[in-house]
Symmetry: C2
């Protein structure tokens, strides 16, 4: 009798892996949808490519539970209602993940799409009405990316909290992204609590604790939850996030049971917390290869994923690999990050654009843990992120990124590339000669400027500083960095000094000068005025 | 008495490194030009940035020789003619490198610029006349890049031989670059031997063994030779290329003597042959940092350079890192390379473009040694090259590139990225299930088609194949890959089979089918029709 593989769910890596496995063996495979399945796209066109290739899709059957002791799955026929069992030799969980229900009154009043993947987002059709996106994290970025690409919807976002550590960008980079979206006409309602959905003769409305927002359609782009109810009931080890935990060979805690795709959580070289499969959809083909080998009894190793992503939001691209500083802290690292803003190629190239990079590292060990960034030059940004992604499985240190050779000529990089600068700044931070603050912190200090605790010092040339000096004659001070060493008497000894320049380079040099001269309490604004502008700080 | 550093030559990394060193010390530095200096740009504006910063530039003095035993340099005053000596505590060679004289009669009849760096190329002004570029290797690419950027010169190239192993691209990639240049109106005279330069009332002419070419100006872009005569006379260890050999701390074979920049040759983790400084100009800032630490007595490590470069040639960008397959063979590796042509992002993105990558690896150990490629999407290509560059110092294997996570979403990469495919093809080559030929080899076999040794089989769909079948009814055969398994009887058993498809993917699958069916002598064309088209093969 041929070996039988049952796949619960139909996530692509499992189907591809099983196909590869049965290709050269007397084995058959059956896909069973789990009974509880909130994904309307679940039996969609993506399955067509698997038809006629040796995998059976009994459309009337739904999986109810797995009896792992007797190696069988309880199924119900949705037409006849009868229940029966199907035996398996090997079982693969591929139940995927999806945003859970909004769980507010009125949710049933309209058809709400759930967006959890690039493909889901790509399937969104444009409308000329108002689309309200309710969500957080990566799913929200994917959804807004697709809608901004269409350029037709009027977009409003109700931005909910993302589980701690799973934001794709740090707060300060996300502020810059949000500012860009706002400039492009997207309305963002951050921190609102969703209360209900209403529909009457005047139309559809989303009601939060602070606003009532008219909508033509609503999209659920909340953080994805693994659909692991059957796996959990069957006694498999489940992560805090609800995902099925697998080892490097995609094996679960029970023998002959495997899991992959976005219902799974993967061992992680960077962190004790397993990486959710939703974060590494780009590795689906690799997962399929590993699953096929693992089904065949080998001990293949699914290399620790870097979770490298890039997403286009209007003119801006956001990208990252590895851990954000928040995620790294949650993983127990003494995480720090260096943020730099610099041209992505030689400054004299006509298409040079600013790139903002945040390099995440562990302070005590100097180990690099991740990188995130934004830029209007998406390919150039993705290239820098991919370069760090390439190193991440090899446990790189700050020195490795400082020495990384970006493919150079002036049209493509700087001789001291923005990536190298990010590492050099990290080095200076650890040497105690660079302490920076982000735009959020600057805004807080600036809002309190009347109390006189801080001395705000613009160290650019006069032409740059003048408009701000005129607008804030009492609070905006100015000494060009080149003159600072001989004008130290103009710097108050009893204030905390906040230095600012265009991108953070000159203010760093000014900081060195001031520290050298005995000023202890000196900070500079990472990324300078560029960071403040990109974050929407009004001055 | 303050310590005195003498720098012979004025290459930027030495000046920057010495500046950094003397900044915090009672030390003085003197720059002496070597008497033999063919670089007209040597005392150019680039030096301005160093004036008034503690380095002395005695313009009348030229270095004649170094007496390393007594730690002094013999100098001549070019105004008075008098000779004297200058003592040093530490000596730095920074004599740079430059194309040597053309060494043919008539060279003095015109002003011939030498191009050895990005900056040299950038300083070239456009003309509306005909510019004849005589050169090879990277200098030739830089020169043509600048001239094509201007878009005004009529360009003719007399392409000489590059020292073995120092071509920036393999022969097959260079064929594609040459074809692109030709399509853009650049005339290429390959393999000509330069004989003389003539000038009379009709103008300037370059005469080779095979042609007489009119010229409005001539540019010498030959391979750069290190200007190391004084260093060699002083008894320093010199590489085969003429460069001053330095260790990881930029120290030469004699104590307290250092060298860096393009006159030096650097220890190389990939190969016994030291890397010439001309190949790693992008690391000049890193060299400066290492030199400063080394002058201070530390043992800094200049990490093995990856020689990552990218150069824009009209619409096409060529880029690379590490060794070419030729260079790797010269270094003693059993080098092989896998060439793939694939879209650089999801095929449905409107700006998707083909990227050609050649991954170089050592067959027996599977170690990755380098990568080169071409694409019209320069940033996307540079990003892939930088990712491999990032790994090269860590001795990566084929598996590392197969698993490399390129920052993914459809606008920036493929789920199975072109870079991963290059590694998978390498893996298949080593497993003996993929033997490919490049466009040159295909052309050779096709030119001999009348002798009937080879059976050329197009395995694309009929629409693609038909025009070629009509043009070559006797030699262009066609079976779509999907039908091959049941049409095996149409494949002759006694011929060598040459498979071709659009980019090499389907022909690889056809190769697997044929091998499985017992056909032993089957090869496919790497990169398929795309590679043939890019290489200018006419069919």
């Amino acid at each position: 009798m041929p070996e039988r593989i049952i796949i619960i769910g139909a996530d692509a890596p499992a189907l591809n892996g099983v196909l590869k496995y049965i290709d050269s063996r007397p084995a058959e495979a059956v896909v069973l949808y789990p009974e509880e399945n909130p994904l309307p796209e679940f039996s969609c066109s993506a399955l067509e490519q698997y038809l006629g290739r040796g995998i059976d899709f009994p459309e009337r059957l739904r999986a109810l539970s797995a009896d792992t002791k007797n190696r069988r799955v309880l199924v119900r026929d949705i037409v006849s209602g009868s229940e029966s069992t199907l035996e398996y030799d090997k079982l693969v969980f591929a139940t995927a993940a999806a945003p859970s229900d909004l769980d507010v009154p009125g949710e049933h009043l309209t058809d709400i799409s759930r967006i959890a993947t690039d493909e889901d987002a790509r399937r969104l059709r444009p409308t000329d009405g108002k689309t309200v996106v309710i969500g957080s994290g990566h799913n929200r970025l994917l959804t807004v990316s697709a809608l901004m690409q269409h350029g037709r919807d009027q977009i409003e976002i109700i931005s909910g909290p993302c589980p701690q550590g799973f934001d794709p960008l740090s707060g300060s980079l996300m502020d810059m992204v949000a500012h860009h979206m706002t400039e492009k006409g997207v309305a963002i309602h951050a921190g609102h609590e969703l209360q209900r959905i209403e529909r009457d003769k005047d139309g559809l409305r989303v009601v939060t604790d602070r606003a009532t927002i008219n909508a033509d359609r609503i999209i659920n782009a909340q953080f994805s939850r693994p659909l692991s109810a059957i796996a959990a009931d069957a006694g498999l080890e489940i992560a805090q996030t609800g995902a099925v935990i697998v080892n490097e060979s995609l094996r679960t805690s029970i023998s002959d049971i495997f899991a992959c795709g976005s219902c799974a959580a993967f061992k992680n070289v960077n962190c004790k917390t397993p990486i959710p499969g939703t974060a590494i959809r780009s590795t689906e083909l690799r997962q399929a290869t590993v699953l096929a080998a693992s089904l065949a009894g080998a001990e293949p190793v699914f290399a620790a994923p870097a979770c490298a992503y890039s997403v286009k939001l209007g003119d801006l691209t956001a990208a990252g690999a590895g851990l954000t500083v928040d995620a790294a802290r949650r993983c127990g690292f003494t995480a720090m990050s260096s943020t730099v803003i610099q041209f992505d190629r030689a400054h004299f190239m006509p298409d040079a654009a600013l790139m903002t990079l945040e390099l995440v590292f562990d302070g005590p060990t100097r180990r690099v843990l991740g990188i995130q960034g934004i830029s209007t030059m998406g390919d150039a940004l993705s290239g820098r992120i991919s370069a760090v992604s390439a190193m991440l499985t090899k446990k790189p240190y700050i020195e490795d990124v400082a020495n990384l050779e970006v493919a150079y000529s002036p049209p493509f990089a700087s001789a001291m590339d923005v990536l190298n600068t990010a590492a050099n700044v990290a080095d200076n931070m650890l040497a105690g000669i660079n302490s920076g603050i982000d735009a959020r912190e600057f805004r807080r200090l600036w809002d309190e400027r009347e109390n006189g605790d801080h001395f705000f010092l613009d160290c650019r040339e006069l032409g740059n500083a003048q408009p701000f000096m005129e607008r804030h004659p009492l609070h905006w001070n100015h000494i060009p960095q080149g003159e600072l060493a001989r004008r130290l008497d103009e710097v108050p000894e009893d204030s905390k000094i906040v230095l600012v320049c265009n991108t953070g380079t000159r203010s760093y040099e000014a900081q060195v000068t001031l520290r050298h001269a005995g000023f202890e309490d000196v900070i500079n604004v990472d990324g300078g005025m560029s960071a403040l502008r990109q974050s929407g700080v009004k001055l």
